[in-house]
Symmetry: C2
DNA sequence: TTGGCTGCAAATATTTTGCACTGGC
DNA sequence: GCCAGTGCAAAATATTTGCAGCCAA
């Protein structure tokens, strides 16, 4: 994971360059996103800035997330059964491994996606712009504790 | 694509075996699913059986889809921006290539997913049960017509 | 000064659920 | 006849939108 301070500065700089305003609420959000090692939901981001900005609304969180998505500074992980999660550290398509027991999300190493994407483009004639690759299963801890899947992610 | 008649019989047989009832509405749904070359939404299935069963409700469609998912007879393709699509012909995880211009969905050939899944399991210690792999881009036709992406599928 | 941003509320869209009634087996 | 399935409506979820007032630049 990148250094949170650097990451924050990057995002601040880009927002400025693109003519977006840096309100205190927005900066607070950026901090949360830059510091999150995991994959927070909009709700979680909201809860984390609420202590400092009690009047903040979810709408503001969603609106800023939308801006950040458009600028390519966060990746939205669309998980139907759980809602969206946001990754501000690796804002480009990459695989995720998701525990259906406890909800933990990992970012495994996997370099071959570019080749596979090209093969798909060749096979279909599509001009492919992005992808999503998610694996679902039980993490080691949930296996040990005999936990059952709560999230039934279909695809 | 499998022969629709055979596919229908398969599903009918399994529902019977598992003690599910075969109501006329349900059989109509099974037919639609077995005959669909594409990836219909719940709504589309609903619209297709409505002429024959005008009082049918969406709830019934969703409930039957749920049963079929549990029996492993349909694959649910969770596309956040468009809602879920259902594949009754290849009810196991496989890649999809989705046109963000017109919504067309293809099922390309790709054999290596098992190996990749094993590699992910090895790397993370997860017991992986299923996955989703979607590619987004413009189909040849939309490229030619200069169409722009309408669906902005995140990941 | 001003237009982007905020925050509240209402709207949207999709899927799920409760429940009385019906009909498949 | 029993009970799963149906159909209507209401609920639950998650996200988006409208708009009046505010404030970062």
């Amino acid at each position: 994971m990148a250094d949170p301070r650097e990451r924050l500065e990057q995002m601040v700089k880009l927002l400025r360059e693109k003519g977006h305003r840096l309100t205190p609420q927005r900066v607070a959000m950026l901090k949360v996103i830059a510091e999150s090692a995991g994959h927070p939901s909009a709700e979680q981001i909201y809860e984390r800035i609420r202590p400092d900005f009690p009047t903040t609304s979810q709408a503001t969180v969603y609106k800023t997330l939308h801006v950040l998505k458009e600028l390519g500074e966060v990746l939205e992980l669309s998980l139907t059964q759980v809602g969206s999660r946001y990754d501000g550290n690796r804002p480009y398509p990459h695989p995720h491994v998701i525990c259906t027991g406890c909800g933990q999300i990992l970012d495994p190493e996997f370099a071959a996606m570019m080749d596979i994407t090209q093969e798909m483009a060749r096979q279909t004639g599509y001009r492919i712009t992005h992808h999503q690759l998610n694996f679902f299963g039980l993490c080691p801890k949930c296996q040990k504790e005999g936990r059952k899947a709560r999230i039934k992610e279909g695809n």
